[in-house]
């Protein structure tokens, strides 16, 4: 069986900085793959290349066996790959409900002029999704009035509304208050598992990684330094020293 997403020998340099220096990665259908690594290792670059925002200088990416390199972000979305952003990209003058409904409408075809965006079908689906994300309370709030954590969730909800088969999330929990973080991630994982979405997420919180990732890929200087189940990777002394930043004295980080 071929992997859902296959990246082979991706190369991209910004001047002298190698953001991707021979990335090989298979993402299997149904798994949650966490990407960890220090700043500047090329984690976001990988997401940007996979979603068509950046074009690598070499290598290939295939989604469901089909090469997607060189396609526009729009085409790649159409194939079933959605993303959320490190800095939430919301329509700031629209309410949360309108934002999510617009994503639903984008999936169904935005070219309708005579029926309102908030027609019962779109409104109900958007409201239901908002409820699953626990955002019902702020459904009528304008996006520019939200706090960072809520923006983050709305951003992800909009990506989920596209019903992708693969969802790439760039730091879904950064900016979310520490007290709420686990609850939010649990909600998120439940929603994604229900929707049978394969997820790749960049994450800095090792507790989140340990609890929710099926596999962990460690990025370092444009390469994948290690790849495997969180129980092994998070307890690897080298990973602990370079990525997690703790002295290898046997601190058991992974809950697994």
């Amino acid at each position: 069986m071929t992997a859902l997403l296959q990246a082979r020998d991706l190369r991209l340099a910004f001047g002298g900085l190698k953001a991707a220096d021979g990335i090989d990665l298979d993402v299997e259908a149904g798994e949650f793959l966490a990407i960890i690594g220090p700043n500047g290792a090329g984690k976001t670059t990988f997401i940007n290349m996979t979603t068509g925002y950046l074009k690598p200088q070499g290598g290939s990416i295939a989604f469901e066996g089909r090469p997607i390199l060189g396609l526009s972000p729009r085409r790649i979305v159409g194939l079933g790959v959605a993303r959320s952003f490190q800095l939430p990209q919301l329509f700031t003058e629209h309410t949360v409900l309108q934002n999510v409904a617009l994503a639903v409408a984008a999936r169904e075809g935005v070219w309708s002029v005579l029926n309102p965006l908030l027609r019962p079908r779109f409104r109900d689906e958007a409201a239901e999704l908002i409820e699953r994300f626990g955002l019902t309370r702020i459904a009528e709030v304008r996006a520019d009035a939200l706090n960072e954590g809520a923006r983050k969730l709305v951003d992800i909800a909009m990506a989920v509304a596209l019903r992708p088969r693969l969802l790439l999330m760039d730091e879904p929990t950064s900016g979310v208050a520490a007290a709420e973080k686990m609850g939010i991630v649990e909600t998120l994982v439940r929603v994604l598992r229900e929707a049978r979405v394969t997820a790749v997420f960049v994450e800095h919180d090792m507790e989140v990684v340990g609890r929710f990732a099926d596999r962990v890929a460690v990025w370092g200087q444009g390469k994948i330094a290690a790849l495997g189940p969180p129980s092994r990777i998070l307890n690897d002394p080298e990973v602990q020293r370079t990525v997690i930043g703790i002295a290898p004295t046997g601190g058991a980080h992974a809950a697994a």
Binding site: R74, V110, P116, L117, L118
Partner: protein, 310 residues
């Protein structure tokens, strides 16, 4: 403001226009021009939703007006000339739109301005065809086979303008609440997100641009039938500026804004010109200054606020 109260206001406005046009005959001309400009400004409002300002929409106004003037020589039926002129404006809008929707903000505005000035020069320099700055007098035109002239003719054109204004206003209002209309507003706040939702912002803007060209086309056709004389001044950049001026004056919050703005603009201009013959621009400037400082939502914003307070 609910859909019902806006509809009621629109029909009340239509009745008011008819009453005024009946009571003060010379206002018929002013009000017809105001309705026509309101139509063109409705198109400007569409682009404003996407955060874009065109300083060149007089191009489509003039294009349609000249289409009526030339077309009337071969086909003097107003009921065919008006849609034909709007259609032609729409086709040219599509061609130019394919190019200009790639640009945003100042570049979008200036490109439109440049293209409209190119057309202005063409109209002015090709004297043999267009009679240059003298313009063209419209040959006699018919409406359903009957001559479109005299008092009955004025009423007919006013009626056409009113029907077009109500129809386009209703259509734009519905369209702005549709997925396409909301995506258009999304171009203003987060264009890249549209791409990552699989929607092409350029195509969304192009649709709005073509619609705005068609509405400017309707406006130009009505103006040609009203003034019965078309000149290159219709495509000069000051005419485009006037449309943007009216959009701000009327307010972009409702489809009624452009028509309120156009009526206020034309009436202010007429009365200012009568009172201060050589300084009417000064009066208009002060009015716009007052609107921007005291009522940033335009005339419509003032109405909406007073209704909310009531």
């Amino acid at each position: 403001m609910t859909r019902r109260s806006e509809t009621l206001l629109a029909f009340a406005g239509a009745v008011l226009i008819l009453v005024l046009a009946y009571a003060v005959p010379w206002l018929r001309f002013v009000l017809t021009i105001a309705l026509a400009k309101g139509l063109a400004v409705l198109g400007i409002l569409l682009l404003l939703r996407a955060g874009q300002v065109s300083f060149g929409h007089a191009l489509y106004l003039a294009l349609a007006a000249y289409t009526v003037a030339f077309g009337a020589m071969a086909l003097p039926e107003a009921l065919l000339l008006v849609p034909l002129a709007a259609l032609f404006a729409g086709v040219v809008g599509l061609l130019i739109g394919l190019f200009v929707v790639r640009y945003r903000e100042i570049f979008f505005g200036m490109l439109n301005l440049a293209l409209s000035m190119v057309f202005y020069s063409v109209l002015e320099k090709f004297y043999a065809l267009t009679h240059g700055a003298d313009g063209i007098r419209l040959p006699p035109v018919t409406f359903l086979g009957r001559p479109l002239a005299g008092e009955a003719g004025e009423w007919t054109v006013l009626g056409m303008a009113l029907v077009l204004a109500l129809a386009c206003g209703a259509l734009v209002r519905v369209a702005l609440a549709s997925p396409l209309g909301e995506a258009l507003a999304g171009i203003k706040t987060r264009e890249t997100r549209l791409d990552f939702m699989g929607v092409s912002p350029k195509r969304v803007l192009l649709a709005a641009y073509v619609a705005s060209a068609v509405m400017a086309g309707f406006a130009g056709a009505i103006i040609a039938l009203t003034t019965r004389h078309v000149t290159p001044a219709l495509s000069y950049w000051t005419t485009s500026g006037e449309l943007v001026f009216i959009a701000i004056l009327g307010g972009a919050g409702s489809v009624l804004g452009p028509f309120l703005g156009a009526a206020a603009y034309e009436l202010t201009r007429v009365y200012a010109a009568a009172t201060f013959a050589n300084a009417w621009q000064l009066v208009l400037g002060l009015v716009l200054l007052g609107v921007i400082v005291f009522a940033p939502g335009g005339i419509w914003g003032m109405i909406a606020r007073s209704r909310r307070a009531a």
